[in-house]
Amino acid sequence: MKNKKTHRILALTLSALTLGASVMASACKDEAKTEVDATVWTASSSVKIKQEEDYSSMYGNKELSFTVFRNENESAQILFNPKSDVAAFDLTVSDLTDANGNLLSKDSFSVFAQKYIEVKSISDPKTPTGAGMYPDALVPMENYVDSKENACTSGDNQGLWIKIKPSKTQAAGVYTGTFQLKLDDSTYDVPVKVEVLEYTLSDAKHTKQDFGLAWQRLEGTELDSTVEMQEAYYEFMLDYRVDSGGLPGMETNYDPNSEGIEERLDNWVERLAEATLDERVGFTRIPYVNSSAVDEYGNTVTCVNISQLRKVLTKMMEYSVEHNINLFSKAGTYFQSLDERTLKGDVDDCNYTYKTTRELYQTMAEEYRAEWEQNGELSEFQETVLLSLKNIRDLCVGMYVDTMTSPCTYVPLLTYMSSDSLIATYQNWVDTHYDEGYRDLWTYTCENPKIPYPTYHIEDTALSARMFSWMMYEYNIVGNLLWQYALGGPRGGEYGAVQGGYFQDQYNTARKFARVNGDGFLVYPGREYGVYGPVASVRLEGVLDGNEDFEFLYALEQNYIARAAAKNVAYNDEHFDNVLAQLTKELYTGISYNYTEDYIEIFENSRKILNNLLLMSENCGVVVENITSEKGVVSVTVSAPEATKISVDGVLKEGTNENGIVTYRFQIPLVNDENALRLTAKTEAYEYTVALDFGAKLQVVSLAGEFEGGKVAVTLDGGEANVKTSTQRGKGLELLYNVVGGEELSGHTAVLDLSALNIDKTQAYITLNIVAQEDMKITVAGKAKNGVYISAGTVELKAGENEVKIELSEFNLTKNGNLQLLRLRLADDTVADRSYTLTLYDMLVGG
C-alpha cells in the first residue's frame, strides 16, 4: 500500500502541526482540563454495537482479547459511552510482552474508528438487529483524528476497531499489556491480552472471488480512476483475500476501437502474469467485447465477439509459452450481459455464447497441440496449459435450468444450493463439462438472499459474512461472486442526493442499491479522509475473517488427507464432513443461520474447536478421523503418532498401533443429559484439549412396544400393522402394504400417530431404524399440531437395515407445535399386485 503511506505521512505531518497548534493554543489560555466520565468496555468482532442502543449487559467486559494464529487477522472492539460530549477521542497502542519476555510489537495492531451509518428502514424483514445507526466504515484512526471527526455525543456508543496480524515469525504465547483510550483529557487504561497460537496461516488462497468494480467509477468516488488508484483498490482487496473482478488497467468489457486498446491489452497480459504468480490471487477475469448474432433457431442473440476473444487468448498463450507461466490457470470469464438470464428462463443468449466460447477454447487447444506436436512430444507444461485453456471457466450468474445446453460454470444464489440434491445438480453439471481440477462450484449474493441466509447487508449480524465461508467450505463451494463492492452511484432508486451520477454523501447512504441496505458496497472512498484507496467496513472484515477460516478448514482437511495416505487407505471426504458437521451443526441448518440468543457464543466455541483441531493435527499429529452416530451411540475415531499421548477426561488411552500410527476408537452413548468427549493430545512440546459436544440424551423409543402399549397408533391404507419378533432384533413394528393389482404403489400410506411421545421443537432429529424387505423408495412427511403435512423428502431404502434420520426442523415445530403424525408412503409409481414390508425398530429422538 505504498501510495497510502505517502498520503498518511502528509496527513500525519498535518496532524503534528495541528497538535502543535493546539498545544500552543492551550498554552495561551488557562489550562482548563476536560475530564470525561464514560463507561468503557470491550467486545469481540462478532457483534455490531449500534450507536444508540443499550449494551449495559456487556459493560463487564473490560479486557481487549484476541486469540489468533500467526499471519492471521483478528479483530476486537473497544467501546465507550460518555456521560458528556467528547471533543476528541483517540487510542494509544503499545507493545505487549509475554511471560518469556517476547515482544508483540504495537505495529502488529491497526486501529480504526467506527463510523456509523443509518439504516432508516429495514430491507431484510427478518433482521435480528432492526433499523438504526450501524457501525460500518472503519476509518484509520489517525485519519479520523485529522479530520476532527473523532468526537462523540454524550449518551452515544462509540466504537474503535482494533485489528491484529501477528507476523509469521511471532513466537506463540500469551501477550499482555495496556492500551490507553483518551477522551479529551481523561485517559482510560484498557487491558489487552493476545494469545498467539502455534501455527502460521499461509498466504496461499484456496478460494476464488469475483467482486466487481467498474474501474471507471472511481472517477466519481475517488475523483481518480488512474491505474495507480485501481492498483490501490486491487491490492487492498487482496489483503482481504478477495479477487476484484478484472485487473487494474483494463476494462472487462472493452471497445476494440478505443484509443490505446492494443497497449492496454498488452499491459493487461503482463499484469495477468503477475496475478497468476501471486499466491494471493485466486481468479482473474478475461476481457471481452460484446456482440450479437443470429442463432440456429433464427433468434437474434447477445453474445461475445469470438475473434476478439481469440485475439486475447492468443496473447495469453504466447506470453505463457514465452515465460513458462500458465496464464490460463486462474482465468475465467464473466459476460455481464448474460447476468441472471436463467432466473428469467431466458437461455438463448447463454446457450449460443457459451457454445461458441467453448468451441473456441477447444479449437485453439487443438490448433496449438497440432502445432507443438510438430516439434515432438508435448511437455508437462504444455499439456497443462492446453488443459487450462480448454477448461476456462465461463461464469454464468443464475441458477440451473433444463434448457441450458452449453457448458458453463453456474453461479447460483446460495438459496439454489440449499440441499444435498441441489448441490449435486451443480456438481454433476461441472463434472460433466469440465476436467478434474476445474470443477469449481460458485455462488453469489446481492440483494438476495435475505436474512437468515448469508448476506452482506448492513442490518445483518457481524457473523453473517464470516460464517458464509464456513458454509462454502462445507458445501464444497470455492467461488464467491459479488456484483459490486464499491458502488458509488444509484442503481434503481432515489435514496440520497446524487450529483453527476454519484452519491454526494458516500458515507451516509445505506441504500446505494435502492432496495437493500449495504448491497453493492463493502468499502468507502478513502479520499474524504486522506486515505489513498478504499476504507474498509465491518462487513468486509467479516469477509476477511471468513476467508481466513476457510483456509484453516482447508489446512485441517489436508492433514486428514495426509493421514489417510500415511495409513495407506483411501481418503473418504465424508469422514471430514462428519467432523466438520460437529463444528457447524448449531451454526446453521442447511443454508439458514440459527440466530438463537447464544449464537455468538456458539460460533466462538466452534472457532475454538477448529483452532484446537488444527493445532492438534499440526503440532501433535492428531487427527479426529471420523465421528458417527448410530443407535444412540456416538463413535469417534482418532489417530496419532505413537509418541503423542491421548487422554479422554484426563484418563490416558490406548489404541491400535500400526506402523507407528495409533488409532483410537471412543464410544459415547447418548444417555446423559449432556454428552461430550474431552480429548487431550500431549507431546513433549505441546498439549491441546478439544471438547466435542454431542448433545442431550437420546430418547430411545421401541415403536413396537409403544404400539402394543397403545401410545403409538398406525393407520395403513390397504394394509396392516403388526408386532413381529425376530431373534436378532427383537420386537419390531411391521408395516405390510398390500398393493392390489392395478393400484399405483404411490397411493399406499402408513401414518404413525406419535402425538403421545411429546416430540417438540427442542429436539433436533428422529432416527428411524427400518428393515426393508427389498430395495424401495418411501416419502416421509410429518404433521405438527397446527400444520399440514410437510415433506421431509424421499428416502431410498436398501434391502435390510436402514437408518433414516429426519430433521425435525423440516416440520416447523416452533410454529406448528409438537409432531403429531409421521407418514411413510411408498414412492415408486410402478403398478403392482403384491405386498411390501417395512419393519420399524427403535426410533431415536433427540440431538
Binding site: 443509518e118 432508516k120 428502514s121 429495514i122 424483514p125 427478518k126 433482521t127 432492526g130 433499523a131 428462463g345 440451473y400 433444463d402 438459496t415 439454489y416 440449499s418 440441499s419 440434491s421 441441489l422 445438480t425 438472499p449 435475505k450 432515489e494 441448518t589 442447511g590 439458514s592 412427511a781 397446527n786 399440514v788 403435512y789 410437510i790 415433506s791 430433521e807 426442523s809 423440516e810 416440520f811 416447523n812 416452533t814 410454529k815 406448528n816 407445535g817
Partner: protein, 530 residues
C-alpha cells in the same frame, strides 16, 4: 380527468419543492397525542374523502368529548413510488399516525414491529352502533388480513380503507345499441363467448366495436375468478398457502381450475377469437379506457376506481357484470352437467331464489334432483368478486397519537364515515357492511349506475381471497401465475410468441417440479419449512 391531472401535477410539484429545498408546504403541526397526522397515497380514489372524514371526525360528539384539543392534518403524495418510499422511510421519513397505503408490501414490516397490531380495533364496538368492527365486515375480508407471526401468534396489522374490486365492466349504451336492451347478460362463460360472436355479427354495431379491450394488468382478472369458481374458495386459498391434498406440495400448480380458466381466457380473449381489440397491446391504459368509454369496445376488465379517475370522459352508461360462471364447472358438479342446466341455476341465483326454491324449479324443469352442494357451488361461483387488498391503513409504532388513530379507524367503519367515503368517491365502497339503498336512499340515488349495481352486487358478493399476506406469497415469492404477461402469451400477433393455455399451465408445473427444488426453496424462504 383533466382536473385530476392538474391536481396531481400540483401535488407532485409541491412535494418536489419539499423534497429538494427542505421548505415546508403546509402548516407545521404538533406531533403529540392530540394531533392526528395522516398520510395518504393519492392513487385512484383521491383524497377528498379523507379530508371530509377528518372534518366530520373533528365535530363528532364522542370524539370531541375524548379529545377536546384535537387537531387533524392530512398529507398526501400522488406519485405512488414516492409515497411508498416515504412510508418505508419510517420514523425518519414522517411523523404520521395513520398511513393510507396503496401497496401490497406492508407485510414485510410485520415481523419488524413497524406497525401496530390492530386486534383491539377490530374487537372494538363502533361508537353509537351495536356492532364490532370485525363483525361489520365480510368474514373473508377479515380473515384474509390475519397474520400469523413466527411465534405462532395471530395478529392483524392492516385496516382496509376501500373495498376496491376488479371485474368485467360493460358499456351498457354500446351493448344496448349493438345487441338490444333485452339481451340477456351472460351467465356462463359459454354465453359470454356467444355474446362476443353476437357483437361481432350485429348489424347495428355501427362503430365496429370489439367485444373487449384490455390492458395487460387486468387481463388476468377473469383468470383468477374462473379458477376460483372451478376449484372453490377453499382450494383456491390452499394454493396460496402451498397446500395440496392436505400437504405442503408443489402439486398446487396442478390444480385443474388453473388450466380450465386459462383455456377459457384463451378461447374467449385469445388472438384466434378476434374478440379483443388489437390496440390492447399498443395503447396506454388511459387510452384503452377511453375506447371503452367511447363504446368502441363493449367490455373491459378494470377496477371500480375507473369512474373516480375518468368521470369526465365517460359518455355512455357503464356498469359491472356479475362474473359469468365458467361453463366447465359442470365437471365438478354431481347433477348439473349441461350448459342449459348450469345457466338455469345461475338464473335462479340471480333472482335471489334460495336453495329450496331453486331445487323445486330445477327439478320441475329437468326432472332430476338438484343437490344442495351443486347449488352452493354455483351460488358461490356466481357471486365471487375479485377484490384487492392493496388499499390498507396502518398505525406506525412510532405514532405519538395511537389511541387517536385507532379512534379514527373506528370512525371510518361507522355508518357516518362510510357515507362520507361513498359520497366523495361517487359511490365506491368500503370493506364494511353498509347498504346505501336502504340506509340512505338519497345518497344511493346520487350514485352512478355502476356504483348502484355494485351496491346491489355487494349484498351477495363473496370476495375472492386476496392472498398477498400469506407467507408463501409475502416471503416465498409465490405468484398466481409465473407467466409475466399473460395477455402477450395469448394475444400477441406473432404466432411464435403465443402460447397455448396448456403450455402456460405446464410451465409452472415444470418450473416447480421437485427435482429443481424451487418449491422447497420457496417454502423455506416463507418460513413454512425448515
Amino acid at each position: 380527468m383533466r382536473k385530476q391531472v392538474v391536481k396531481r401535477s400540483l401535488a407532485l410539484g409541491a412535494c418536489a419543492v419539499m423534497a429538494f429545498s427542505g421548505v415546508g408546504c403546509k402548516e407545521k403541526v404538533a406531533n403529540d397525542e392530540n394531533t392526528l397526522e395522516m398520510f395518504i397515497c393519492d392513487f385512484g380514489y383521491g383524497t377528498e374523502w379523507l379530508e371530509a372524514q377528518a372534518e366530520e371526525f373533528k365535530k363528532t360528539d364522542w370524539v370531541t368529548a375524548k379529545y377536546p384539543e384535537l387537531k387533524v392534518s392530512v398529507d398526501s403524495l400522488a406519485d405512488q413510488a414516492m409515497a411508498n418510499s416515504k412510508i418505508m422511510a419510517g420514523e425518519q421519513g414522517n411523523t404520521a399516525d395513520l398511513l393510507f397505503t396503496a401497496s401490497e408490501s406492508g407485510y414485510i414490516y410485520y415481523e419488524s414491529g413497524m406497525y401496530l397490531d390492530l386486534t383491539s380495533v377490530y374487537d372494538s364496538v363502533i361508537p353509537n352502533e351495536d356492532v364490532k368492527v370485525k363483525d361489520k365486515m365480510n368474514e373473508i375480508k377479515y380473515t384474509d388480513r390475519l397474520y400469523t407471526t413466527d411465534n405462532g401468534e395471530e395478529k392483524i396489522y392492516s385496516f382496509p380503507w376501500v373495498n376496491g374490486f376488479a371485474g368485467l365492466f360493460i358499456n351498457l349504451t354500446a351493448k344496448n345499441e349493438i345487441l338490444g336492451a333485452d339481451y340477456v347478460m351472460p351467465r356462463t362463460s359459454n354465453e359470454l363467448a356467444k355474446m362476443c360472436e353476437d357483437i361481432k355479427a350485429s348489424a347495428t354495431n355501427s362503430k365496429d366495436a370489439y367485444p373487449f379491450i384490455s390492458s395487460s394488468t387486468y387481463y388476468r382478472t377473469l383468470f383468477t375468478i374462473w379458477w376460483a369458481q372451478y376449484e372453490g374458495l377453499d382450494e383456491y386459498a390452499n394454493y396460496f398457502n402451498g397446500i395440496a391434498d392436505g400437504e405442503l406440495s408443489n402439486k398446487i400448480f396442478e390444480q385443474k381450475g388453473r388450466l380450465r380458466a386459462l383455456e377459457e381466457l384463451e378461447r374467449i380473449m385469445g388472438y384466434d377469437s378476434q374478440n379483443v381489440n388489437p390496440l390492447s397491446q399498443e395503447l396506454d391504459f388511459m387510452s384503452l379506457q377511453a375506447h371503452f368509454f367511447n363504446g368502441t369496445a363493449v367490455m373491459m376488465t378494470n377496477g371500480d376506481w375507473l369512474e373516480t379517475e375518468m368521470s369526465e370522459l365517460i359518455k355512455g352508461e357503464i356498469t359491472v357484470m356479475k362474473n359469468p360462471v365458467i361453463s366447465t364447472i359442470t365437471e365438478k358438479l354431481s347433477v348439473v352437467k349441461s350448459e342449459e342446466e348450469l345457466a338455469f341455476v345461475v338464473q335462479c341465483v340471480d333472482e335471489n331464489k334460495d336453495v329450496t326454491a331453486t331445487q323445486a324449479a330445477f327439478n320441475e324443469r329437468f326432472q332430476k334432483e338438484l343437490t344442495p352442494s351443486d347449488y352452493e357451488k354455483i351460488y358461490n361461483a356466481r357471486n365471487l368478486l375479485n377484490s384487492w387488498n392493496v388499499h390498507e391503513a396502518y398505525i406506525p409504532s412510532y405514532s405519538t397519537a395511537k389511541e387517536l388513530a385507532k379512534d379514527f379507524l373506528l370512525f371510518m367503519a361507522s355508518d357516518k364515515g362510510i357515507e362520507i367515503f361513498m359520497r366523495e368517491t361517487s359511490g365506491c365502497q368500503t370493506a364494511f357492511t353498509y347498504d346505501a339503498e336502504t340506509k340512505n336512499p338519497e345518497l344511493f340515488n346520487s350514485f352512478t349506475t355502476l356504483q348502484k349495481d355494485h351496491v346491489k352486487m355487494g349484498r351477495t358478493a363473496i370476495p375472492l381471497h386476496d392472498m398477498a399476506q400469506t407467507r408463501l406469497v409475502a416471503y416465498g415469492g409465490l405468484k398466481n401465475l409465473t407467466a409475466v404477461n399473460l395477455q402477450a402469451n395469448f394475444l400477441s400477433s406473432n404466432a411464435a410468441a403465443r402460447k397455448s393455455a396448456n403450455a402456460v399451465y405446464q410451465e409452472d408445473i415444470e418450473y416447480y417440479k421437485e427435482e429443481n427444488g424451487r418449491f422447497d426453496i420457496m417454502l423455506r424462504q416463507a418460513g413454512l419449512k425448515g
